[in-house]
Subunit: 214 residues, 2 copies
DNA sequence: TGATTGATTTTTGCATACAATATTACGCAT
DNA sequence: ATGCGTAATATTGTATGCAAAAATCAATCA
């Protein structure tokens, strides 16, 4: 049994900083203080710089030359772009999942949002927000598409960072989710794709309204 | 007129290495020799390490701990995944372009593949390969979606690195391209999306055949 | 009091030095 | 000649030192 242990400091630092970003400890727009990280993580600047450069490549961190590194903050336009990307990716993911007939995965997906009926209690709404996240993550996961999954990790964080709650109320989206699930149950890849695309494009529209009204 | 000049060495090194990868000078699978880069670029290891770490984040380079850095080589499965991603992204891009009515852009897109008629001469085939690249890049460009464009830079390289020529012969794809262009001319976003999705999914299928027959 | 200039401090970016690990070369024994 | 073990070498990963740029703060002047 080969003991896979990674003793590379840079990698630990990378995970550490990424978790700080994902966990909200380093909020969007925050300037990265390297010396603080030096003290806190007990390493020199070198592995920290390596980790930060990598996170720049992954678009978690933005570099402003000779000025500093900042946790990437997404504006409303970029959030709209992101929902378009989600529409495209999750749409093709669910379509391929259905067309390629991954039965177990589809049965799991078909079980989402089963026990949600309007009106939702406050507690239900919390569960619903989590179910929403899980549903969309699971679709990407079941696509068995590594490239898509890499992208998902990034934008899952972005969405969380941008808006704590949901873009639209459950009263509006539950019906859409049920429509998607029904298309999955009917093994209709084309329809499921279109439903999920419309679902995300509507959220994109809502964001657009928020942008202009600000 | 503000003179934007970037005197950061790391950035120049980053561009240098990326261009070496994009230009085929550093082919997929190639091990990166840092000392060679030190001599060649006349800088120390520090900016080279920064550039490489960033390229690791961008998935241009793969890191094998304590062993080395290698230009990412994509296998057949990953290429299939990539075509699924392209299907999803370019599909939604053209749909939104049409639905949002960006007239000038659409007129440009409608002019692609105009002067290509079968049979194609050898010279035509070269032009066709270029037109193919331009067409798909232009769609992404006109999406005005920065996130998509960032992704496009990466996968444009990947496709080039994987297979020099086209996945399928012009005899097969020209008709599909004309169908996409016609949908654009008709300002039918839904149809254009579906045409471009099918276009890429067929290429994905061809790649799948190549995988299994190897 | 408020603004501007100058000095101090901080931080970034680069180079270099060193330690740990992996690769290669070489010699020896079978 | 071939396989194995050890030494030499190369490369990675880390730490540190230093110069240049930026930010902060203080003092001066209006």
């Amino acid at each position: 049994m080969p003991k896979i242990e990674n003793t590379i400091l840079s990698d630990h630092v990378y995970e550490g900083i990424r978790d700080m970003i994902l966990g909200g400890e380093l909020p969007p727009g925050q300037k990265i203080n390297k010396n603080e990280l030096v003290e806190r993580l007990g390493v020199s600047l070198t592995p920290i710089n390596a980790a930060i450069s990598r996170l720049v490549g992954e678009k978690f961190i933005e570099q402003q030359s000779r000025y500093g590194f900042f946790v990437k903050a997404f504006d409303c336009k970029e959030m709209q772009d992101l929902y378009a990307v989600r529409a495209g990716l999750e749409g093709i993911a669910i379509r391929l999942c259905i067309e390629n007939g991954c039965e177990e995965e589809l049965q799991h997906l078909a079980s989402f949002f089963e026990d949600f009926r309007l009106p939702l209690s406050e507690d239900d709404k919390k569960r619903y927000a989590q179910e929403d996240k899980d549903f969309h993550s699971t679709i990407v996961k079941y696509s068995a598409n590594q490239i898509m999954q890499d992208m998902n990790l990034s934008y899952a964080y972005i969405i969380r960072s941008y808006q704590k709650g949901l873009i639209r109320a459950p009263e509006e989206t539950l019906e859409e989710h049920h429509a998607i699930v029904n298309a999955i149950k009917g093994r209709d890849g084309f329809l499921a794709q279109e439903m999920i695309i419309q679902h995300h494009l509507k959220s994109k529209e809502v964001l657009k309204q928020q942008c202009s009204s600000e």
